[in-house]
Structure formats: C-alpha cells, structure tokens
Subunit: 323 residues, 2 copies
C-alpha cells in the first residue's frame, strides 16, 4: 500500500468520480472559534466517498475477472458505491446488506442494478456470507476497507484535500475524518503525508464505537463490543483493519469521539450554513470541528463530510436541533 | 455589456468566489427522462450566486468611491452577497430589505456586518429608499440586476457552465436558469454564446410572476401586477431590467414557468438525490427540468440552482412531498 497506488487510482477515477470543492462559512467559523474547511463527499456519486473505492477496485481488476462480477458487504454506502461502479463497468454486483440498514440505502442499491442479499446483523457474519457467495458464483469480493485498491480509491480524496490546502496556502492543519474501518482515514493519511505533510489526519468516531481511537492509544487493534444502537450506522465496524491500522498508527494523530447529539447539531448547521445534506455518521468530523475545539490545535481545521444518505425522519430530527 | 467584462470579472473573482461543480444523479435522470446536470450555486458563498455579482461590483469601484461604502436593496440573497463582499473589502454596506423577507436572510445580512434598513414591500419603493440613502451618505448603489458589473459577475457562472459542458463534450443543450430580473440569466447567456454557443439559455419563473417569459414572447418589457403571494420570494421582480432584457431577447430561448408545488417537489428530490439544500425560488429551473420535459429538447439539460437560503418550516414542507 503506497502513494503510487493512490496516484494510479486517481488516474483511473479522472472523469468518473467528482472532484469535490472545499466549502466554508463564516458562521461555522464563529461557532468553532477557528476556520473550518469542509470536504463534502456527500456530493460524490451515490452520496458518499465510497464510490471512489468501488471504482478504484473494479477498474483495477483484470477484464476476465471483472466480467464474472463482484460482491460486497456493506451497511449501505459501500453497497451503493460498488453497485454504481459495477453498473458503469457493465458487470454484475451482489451486495450483502444488514436487514436493518436504512430503507433508502437498500432501495437505492437495488435501483442501481445490484442484487441485494439481506442478513441479520446481530446473529450472522457478513464476512462468512460474502465469502460463501463469492466462492459459489466466481464473484470477486470487494471488501469495504481492508483492501488495497479500496484504500487507494479513498486516498484520492486525500490528494484533493492536499492540493486544495496547498492552493489555499494551508501548510499545517488537522484533517478530521469520520472513521469506520479506516479505509478513508488511512488513504487520506497516505495522500497528505506525500503531498502536504503538514496536514495531520485524525479519525473521528461515535462514542462507544471508538475502536480506532483505543487502538491508536494502545498500539494494538481493539474491538467494539456493540454492533448497533447508534445513529451513525455508516461508520460502525467491529475493529480497524489489518491493512488500515498500521497505516493509521504510523501517520495519524489521536482519535476523537462525538455524541449522537453532536452529529445531529452538526447536520442542522450544515443545512443552514453550507446547504448540505449530511447523514449522522458523515457529520462526525464536522461535529468534532464545531463542538470539540478544545481537543484541536491551530487556526484552521479541515473536516471531511463522508456521506449524505439520510432518511427524512432522521434529517427532521437534525433540523429540530436548530434554534 | 460584453463578454470581456465577464472575463475581467472572472479574473477579479478568482480565489474569492467558489467554482461550483456540475452534479447529477441517475435517479433524477430517470424522473426527467433525460440527463440532468445541476449547477449548484446554493454552494456559493452566502448560499447563492449573488455573491458573484456583489464581489464583481465592489471590486470594480475605484478605491476612493469604494471606501465610502455601498448600498443595496434586496429580498435577501443580493443583500447577503453584497454584505459579505463589502466585509471582505473592509467597507460599509447598507442593505434595504423588505420587512417580510425570511427571518434567516435578515439575520444573516446583519451578522455579515451590514446595516439593515427595513421597508414595507406593499406600500414603499425600495428604489426610492435606496436612492435617498445613497445620496445622503455618499454610498454607491449596487443594483440587484440592472447593473453592468453585477451582470458581469453573475456571468462568471456561465463561463464555468460553458467550460464544464465542453469538458463533458456537451455541444448542444438547454441551460435553464431561475430568473428574477435577469442578471444571472443574461450573464450566463452572454458567457455561453461566447464560449459554447450550442448551449441555449432559457429563463424559468414561478407561475403568475412570468414577466420575463411574457416579455420575450411580446418583444417588449412586461410587468408583474403582483408583488408577493408565492414561496419563490428570491426571484420576484416587477419586470426584467432595461439592460438585461435586450440581452435575453437577443440570446435566450422561450421562458418556462413552474408551480409552487413543482418547486417543493424538486427541493425534496434534491435533498434525497443530490444532498443539496435549495430554496423554493432556487429550485425553479430544476423543477422545470424534472417535471416539464415536454417543453424541452435534447438528451441533456443543465439546470442552475440559484440559492439555498430556506427556513426550516419551508424545507420541512418540501421533505413532505417525498413518498
């Protein structure tokens, strides 16, 4: 896993993934007490950064293998990213999704042409189901984060952050990243280390699902006991990946955590001040930037918004946090 | 008024205004029956394209005149655009606003450092008030649309549309623009005519406020009798401008109209599929693209989203249009 793989992925993604702009608002700066720049990956195809990794993985397969199709397991955003990337490559996609994923995500994944297989998050292992189907049907498994080409694809987001920070003459800043298994976080960390090394990447997780934070603190991979019971469903994972953790341990600053209420309030402010629709898990980094400045340093912070696939009732709850 | 003024404005705006990306969604294409590309100026500074014109006008003033300050009248978006541009130039801004403008827009304008003077939209003339204050205090009036440098600033949005269309190999398409007095519409029309002449600009207005459509049909400036009573407050104007109308008459295709319900439904779909927050008047062009395809031609349509400054109750009403 290295920067050359990320640059190669960027070449393959050019003209297919969106280059998202850095956004800002003087009103958010006032809340945070420093300048906040927002990388809005909710504006990426399928409403999350996951399209980058999906495209990078599919486009890296040899043609014969790709033609047999791909399989993925995902709580929703990776599902949609892989589904659309597969459709654009004109190949079959089978997606293994938890039966309690937001209805919109399941429906979208189907509408993007994928075959959806549901499983019970509490009783079954998506890894086992995915491996079984892959073997039975000759499908290539695209793991959601612990997969070199997926990390490379997510890392292209970091190349854009580094380039735009350089253009804004930001030589030192913390880059907060909503973190599940660490694919995006480790990819951005590799890209920033190569292209704008004064940027320090820090993972942000929901309280009680802070496996990456604890893993970084202890230097060894830690697990989450819980698997559900928080609105940030997009960034739940049992533990950081075997590939992503060593990269994060080498390159990232300390992890941060945010509450569910922090995420809802950040979603409300993003509606009002940035005109963005963000899902709870996608708002974690922005929430940390807005409400946990005591743990940050420097005049400027860059917050990634990782997704916007939120159901109407949840978004309404976020709007209700506004005065 | 010519393309050189727009290019000069683009040079002055570089690094200050945002270059907004073209967005899309396969789900919206399906609703429309053709490809829709969306130019999301709700992501511009202050949540609307008006920042472009405000910055262009302020930056074109000679320094002594600029130092005395500026005045503007506006239902809200021009107000915020001028207010932020003035603050970034470190000069005084007085804004004349209708007392029934959305509370958020009035509050934002004040928070951006402007002095706000309220007037009664039904009984008073904002032009008279603006002229009076300008004379009394030595302020330069920045008209919302019938002002060459403002048209030039809005036209920079058209340069971006033309450049991105060219990059996507779109040589012929209709460009729908939410239209009030015609500053943005005429600016985009000039830019497209110069840089990608196969793009045809068409103004979109609310039903019963279709002065531009009727003016284009008759070849002479027509007025609106009504001044309020529609949710698209951002694009109400009594008539097209003396500067903007001849440009639109020369370069634009026929006007289109949309209902309030069309706009709310477009806002709902933009929430769900584009992760954008749009105000009713800013959704008119997207609504025409989605729901009035019978009046359009070609495989691709480009819809400008002109603003996102919407109060929570109105946005909630838009969400309620979703199934």
């Amino acid at each position: 896993m290295n920067i050359d793989m990320i640059r190669a992925a960027a070449d393959r993604l050019a003209g297919h993934a969106r280059y998202t702009p850095l956004l800002s608002s003087p009103f958010l700066d006032e809340v945070a007490g420093r300048r906040i720049l927002v990388k809005p990956e909710c504006l990426q195809h399928t409403g999350s950064f996951k399209f980058r990794g999906g495209w990078a993985a599919l486009s890296a397969l040899d043609p014969a293998q790709r033609a047999r199709g791909v399989i993925a397991y995902s709580s929703g955003n990776h599902a949609q990213g892989v589904a659309l990337a597969a459709r654009m490559h004109d190949v079959r996609a089978v997606i293994v999704m938890p039966s309690d994923a937001p209805a919109l995500k399941i429906a979208n994944t189907r509408a993007l042409g994928a075959e959806v297989v549901l499983y019970d998050r509490a009783r079954e292992s998506r890894e086992d189901i995915g491996d079984g189907l892959a073997t039975a049907h000759g499908l290539t498994l695209i793991r959601p984060y612990d997969e070199p080409q997926v990390i490379a694809g997510q890392g292209t987001c970091g190349l854009e952050i580094a380039a735009d920070a350089k253009m804004c003459e930001i030589d030192e800043a913390e880059v907060l990243v909503c973190c599940g298994g660490g694919g995006l976080t480790s990819g951005i960390a590799l890209a920033c280390a190569a292209d704008q090394p004064g940027l320090t990447v820090r993972p942000v997780e929901p309280e009680c699902f802070d496996d990456v934070k604890r893993s970084l603190e202890t230097g060894t991979i830690q697990n989450n006991d819980r698997r559900d019971g928080n609105i940030c469903d997009a960034i739940f994972t049992p533990a950081p990946g075997d590939l992503t953790f060593p990269i994060m341990a080498r390159l990232c600053g300390a992890g941060l955590t945010v509450s569910e209420d922090d995420c809802l309030r950040a979603m409300g402010l993003a509606f009002q001040r940035l005109k963005l629709v963000i899902e709870p898990g996608g708002a974690a980094a922005l929430a940390a930037a807005l409400f946990h400045g005591e743990h940050l340093t420097g005049d400027t912070v860059i917050a990634t918004v990782t997704g916007g696939n939120v159901d109407r009732p949840m978004f309404t709850a976020a709007l209700e946090t506004l005065p």
